[in-house]
C-alpha cells in the first residue's frame, strides 16, 4: 500500500483512513473505497479483483475480508477517475447526499451489472475449477450461501447508511424483501449441503435440534444481550450529556467569566457595567433559548425580519449603552424594501438611544401583518420637534423619512403621549 500516492482526494479528506464507499457502489463498495484510497481508477481495482477471483477465488476471499473489516464511509472516487465505458453511472463526485431518487436507481443498475458479472465469472470459475466429484457438488450450494450472505451484508450496510441519508418508505419494503431473499438463499444453500450429505432423511430431527439449540442460546444469552444494548445506549446518552455539559461550561467560561472579570475591573463605571451586563445577558439568553446552533455564529446577515430587528437593537444597545426592549410579533423573510425599513428602524433606534436614552429603555415594537410590516421605536427622552431641526441635519429626514418614502413606505415622527418621541415606520409587504 503506497501511502504516499499522489491523490487529489487526499487534500479533501485529510485523515486518510480506508473506508468502503457508500456512493455509487456495486456490491460492498470495497472497490470504490480502495480506489479512492489508493488514487486508482475504480475500473482497475474492479478488474484486479476479478482477476484475483480467477486465481482460485482469492479475489472473492479478499473482497469478503475487506467487506467484513473495513467500515462503511462516504465518498470514494470521484467521477473523473471513472471509466467512460460504464454508461455514465456516476454523475457526481464523492459525498452527495439528498439525491435519493437518482442515487437509488443508479445503485440498482450497478447491482444488476455486478450480478451479471458475478454469474459469468462464477460460471467460468465453475468451469475452470477442477475439483473432485463430491467436492464439486458442494460448489453450487456454497455459491448460493455466499450470494445470500452478500445480500444480507449489503442490507446491513444500507441500514447504516439510512441513518445518514434518510431512506424513504418505499425503500423500506424493498429492504425487507432483500433481507428475506438473502435468508432464503442461505437457507437453500445450507439445505442443499444437507441434502448432498445424504442426511436429508434426518432433516426434520436435525432442524428440531437446531431450533432447540437456537432457542436455548437465546434464552441463555438473551438477557445479557438486552442488558448490553441497554448499557450501550445509556452510555451513549451519558456521553452526549457530558459533551453538552462540556460545551456549556466552555461557553460560560468564555463569555460569562470574562464579562464578570470586566465588570469587576470597571466596578466604578456604572454605565460600562450596565452595558457589559446587558450584552452578556442577551448573549446568554440567545444561547440558552435559541434552537441549536443559531446562538453562536453571528457572522452571516440575518434573512428573517425578527432576527434582523433584534440584531440591530443589540448592536445599538452595545454601542450606546442604552437598554433597548424589543418585541416582535410574527416574522417574515426580508426583501429589499424591508431591508430599507430595517435600516430606517436602526437609524431611529440610534437616534432614540442618543437623544432619548436618559429617560429609560428604548422600546422597539415590530409587527408583521399579512399586508404590511409595522415598526415603532419609542424613547422617553425630552422629545423633539421635526420643524425645529435645522435643514442641514440629515439624520432624520434622509435616513428615516426619506429612505422609507423612496422605498414606498411611510414614516411618522410624533411626540409620544407619555413624553418622549415615537417613530412609526410602515412598509407594504411584497405580494407573495
Amino acid at each position: 500500500m503506497s501511502e504516499a500516492a499522489p491523490v487529489p482526494i487526499a487534500d479533501e479528506r485529510p485523515p486518510r483512513k480506508l473506508y468502503r464507499s457508500g456512493d455509487g457502489r456495486w456490491l460492498g463498495g470495497v472497490a470504490r473505497g480502495l480506489a479512492g484510497h489508493l488514487g486508482l481508477p475504480v475500473v482497475w481495482v474492479r478488474l484486479i479483483f476479478l482477476g484475483l477471483f480467477m486465481a482460485n477465488g482469492l479475489g472473492a476471499l479478499l473482497y469478503a475480508a475487506f467487506w467484513f473489516f473495513v467500515p462503511l464511509g462516504v465518498g470514494g472516487v470521484g467521477a473523473g477517475s471513472y471509466g467512460s465505458g460504464e454508461s455514465g453511472t456516476t454523475a457526481s463526485p464523492a459525498p452527495v447526499f439528498g439525491r435519493r431518487g437518482r442515487g437509488g436507481r443508479r445503485v440498482d443498475k450497478g447491482q444488476i451489472v455486478a450480478l451479471l458479472a458475478m454469474v459469468i465469472v462464477a460460471m467460468i470459475f465453475v468451469g475452470s475449477v477442477n475439483l473432485g466429484g463430491p467436492a464439486r457438488a458442494y460448489l453450487l450450494p456454497g455459491l448460493l450461501v455466499g450470494a445470500g450472505v452478500a445480500l444480507v451484508w449489503r442490507q446491513a450496510d444500507n441500514a447504516r447508511r439510512a441513518r445518514w441519508v434518510e431512506v424513504g418508505r418505499r425503500r423500506h419494503v424493498l429492504n425487507l424483501a432483500r433481507s428475506g431473499a438473502g435468508v432464503l438463499l442461505v437457507g437453500t444453500g445450507v439445505t442443499g449441503i444437507f441434502v448432498l450429505q445424504g442426511s436429508a432423511q434426518h432433516l426434520g430431527s436435525v432442524l428440531q435440534a437446531a431450533l432447540a439449540v437456537v432457542v436455548g442460546i437465546a434464552l441463555l444469552a438473551g438477557p445479557y444481550l438486552i442488558r448490553m444494548t441497554q448499557d450501550l445506549s445509556q452510555e451513549r446518552l451519558m456521553r452526549i450529556r457530558a459533551q453538552e455539559r462540556a460545551e456549556v461550561a466552555a461557553h460560560v467560561h468564555d463569555s460569562v467569566l470574562h464579562t464578570l472579570t470586566l465588570i469587576q475591573r470597571n466596578a466604578d463605571n456604572g454605565g460600562e457595567v450596565r452595558r457589559l451586563a446587558r450584552a452578556q445577558e442577551r448573549d446568554l439568553r440567545n444561547w440558552l433559548y435559541k434552537p441549536e446552533g443559531t446562538g453562536k455564529d453571528e457572522d452571516d446577515e440575518p434573512t428573517e425580519l425578527a432576527e434582523s430587528v433584534r440584531r440591530a437593537a443589540a448592536e445599538v444597545e452595545d454601542k450606546h449603552g442604552v437598554p433597548i426592549e424589543v418585541v416582535v410579533v410574527g416574522d417574515c423573510p426580508l426583501d429589499d424594501k424591508l431591508v430599507a425599513q430595517m435600516q430606517a428602524a436602526r437609524e431611529a433606534m440610534v437616534n432614540a438611544a442618543k437623544y432619548g436614552g436618559e429617560g429609560g429603555a428604548v422600546q422597539v415594537f415590530a409587527e408583521v401583518d399579512e399586508a404590511k410590516v409595522f415598526v415603532s421605536v419609542r424613547d422617553r427622552g425630552p422629545g423633539f420637534d421635526l420643524d425645529e431641526v435645522p435643514d442641514d441635519r440629515m439624520g432624520v429626514r434622509e435616513s428615516i423619512i426619506g429612505r422609507m418614502q423612496r422605498n414606498g413606505g411611510t414614516a411618522r415622527l410624533r411626540p409620544a403621549p407619555g413624553g418622549g418621541t415615537e417613530v412609526e415606520l410602515e412598509m407594504e409587504r411584497a405580494a407573495t
Binding site: 418585541v327 416582535v328 410574527g330 415594537f365 415603532s376 409620544a416 403621549p417 407619555g418
Partner: protein, 229 residues
C-alpha cells in the same frame, strides 16, 4: 407612576415572595418592603413549591410574587396547587409572575396557570409596587413582551376557531395589546385611544381571561380533532 402610589397612600397590600434565590428575595424585600412609603408588606417568603404552598395557605396574602423556575415543579405547580385559593370569592390570592426568563412558553404557561400578570426581574421598584397594587385590584399586568407573545399566539391560531366570540381578541383588545407592546403605560393608552384607564384595564383583563380560556378550548379542539370526545 408616582401618583398611583400616592392615591393608594392609605392602602396596604400583603405580599408573599416566592423565589429560590435568597439574594433576590432580599433585594425585592429591600426595594418594595418599606411598608410606610410603598404600602407593601412582605408577610412571607418561600424558596420552593412545597414551602410556597404552605406559606401562602398559612398567611393568605393578597398578592404572591411568583418566580417561574422553582425547585419542585416550578411556578405552574404552585399555581395548580393554589387554585382553590385563587377562586376564593371573599379574599382571593392573586399571583404576579416575576421571572428572569422571558421565553414564550414560560410566560404563557404561568398566565394560563392563572397568574394575573407577568413582569421580568429587570423591572424597577416603583413599577413593581404599581403592578402589585394593580394585581390586587384584580387587573392584569402585561409587560410589553407578554403583550407581544399574546399577539403572536392569537395571530398564529388563525385556523377557524369553534367558538369565535370566546377565542378571538376583539379589534379593540388587539389595539390595546399593541400599544402595551409598544411600551405604553395604561394611562398613555387611555389618552391615545380616548378611553378611560378603567376601560383599558377591563380590556386587558378580558385578554387575560381569553388567554386562560383558550387553553381549555384548545384542549377541546385538540381532543375533538382526534375523536377523543
Amino acid at each position: 407612576m408616582s401618583d398611583a402610589t400616592e392615591n393608594e397612600g392609605e392602602r396596604r397590600v400583603r405580599v408573599v415572595l416566592v423565589d429560590d434565590h435568597r439574594m433576590f428575595r432580599t433585594g425585592v424585600q429591600a426595594e418594595i418592603g418599606r411598608t410606610e412609603t410603598t404600602g407593601v408588606e412582605v408577610v412571607g417568603e418561600a424558596a420552593d413549591v412545597d414551602q410556597a404552598v404552605s406559606v401562602i395557605t398559612a398567611t393568605r396574602p393578597e398578592v404572591v410574587l411568583l418566580d417561574v423556575h422553582l425547585p419542585g415543579g416550578g411556578g405552574v405547580e404552585v399555581l395548580r396547587r393554589c387554585a382553590p385559593l385563587m377562586a376564593d370569592a371573599e379574599e382571593p390570592v392573586r399571583f404576579l409572575a416575576l421571572s428572569v426568563s422571558d421565553a414564550a412558553e414560560d410566560v404563557i404557561g404561568v398566565i394560563r396557570g392563572g397568574a394575573r400578570g407577568y413582569v421580568t426581574k429587570t423591572i424597577t421598584g416603583t413599577d413593581l409596587v404599581n403592578s402589585v397594587f394593580r394585581v390586587q385590584d384584580g387587573d392584569a399586568v402585561f409587560s410589553p413582551r407578554l403583550a407581544g407573545f399574546v399577539l403572536d399566539a392569537f395571530a398564529s391560531t388563525d385556523a377557524p376557531p369553534i367558538d369565535e366570540d370566546l377565542d378571538r381578541l376583539t379589534q379593540r383588545e388587539r389595539e390595546v395589546l399593541r400599544l402595551i407592546a409598544r411600551g405604553y403605560a395604561y394611562k398613555e393608552i387611555a389618552k391615545q385611544l380616548f378611553i378611560s384607564v378603567k376601560t383599558v384595564e377591563s380590556h386587558v383583563s378580558a385578554v387575560l381571561r381569553k388567554l386562560q380560556l383558550s387553553n381549555r378550548h384548545e384542549l377541546t379542539r385538540w381532543a375533538t380533532a382526534r375523536r377523543l370526545v
